[in-house]
Symmetry: none
Subunit: 122 residues, 2 copies
DNA sequence: ACCCATAATGAAAATGGTTGTCATTTTCAT
DNA sequence: ATGAAAATGACAACCATTTTCATTATGGGT
């Protein structure tokens, strides 16, 4: 029966596209007339992470954010002033992370990387 | 005057050696007859992070942990299981960030990048 | 269809790290 | 010494997440 809430949450993540926090997801789902409780969203996300259908990361402030596993992986260039965001190709980073991890005997390697600055308009 | 609490906290971090949470640090400091409030520990850590004297990372549960940081810019490879940390040379990343930013007309470019995985011992 | 054991759900309360408030204390220049 | 400004810390507020617990849905056995 947890199947139902799991697929609701997965659908929500698809709709969102990229990362979303549990609470954002809860809002999105209920906005679209999918009645689901916040607790259940947390539980569904937890089990989806356990079965590796969903990735979990942490924002700088410590809040957990989730995304579909296998969603196209990319990185962001964000303007510190106006928030404008550009999606960046990160092939170099993927190699760097894999290689650095492997050289040090690590497995299950993941990474985070963000670029920030001031955009031309600001 | 924040100098005083900052150096107390730095001393605490030295004593601890590796990573410590704000609350652990608060305990350690007061155990060693350094009377300092928890709020002040948080503030000192915050300002030390701002001035890049201290690194901040997140445990899996989202709690912030801190440690002394060398002056040279570098990145981290962290074990998700035991917390073991390796400092990584990030020349590739610096170039990637600078170039991606410049290509999109951004200036004052900075970046964050972390690698995580499971270490050989775990 | 009916029972019942079991799992799922979600509202509300509890938890816990972190941040905000504000009165008090310390520092420092005059 | 005096006042302004910065620093401090006890306490309360905040907020994401977890725990409780009462209710509801599910599904197999009869
Ligand atoms: Zn901008
Ligand atoms: Zn994106
Ligand atoms: Zn990447
Ligand atoms: Zn390890």
């Amino acid at each position: 029966m947890s199947k139902k809430s799991n697929s609701k949450v997965l659908a929500g993540l698809e709709r969102v596209g990229g990362f979303a926090s549990a609470q954002e997801l809860h809002l999105v789902l209920n906005r679209d007339s999918e009645s689901i409780g916040l607790t259940t969203v947390y539980r569904a996300l937890q089990s989806l992470v356990d079965e590796k259908a969903v990735d979990i990361l942490r924002k700088e402030d410590g809040e957990a954010i989730f995304r579909l596993c296998g969603a196209t992986h990319h990185h962001h260039l964000v303007c510190k002033s106006c928030g404008k965001t550009v999606e960046i190709e990160g092939g170099v980073i993927e190699k760097w992370a894999e290689q650095s991890g492997a050289e040090n005997g690590f497995r299950d390697i993941g990474h985070t990387a963000e670029i920030f600055g001031i955009c031309a308009a600001c």
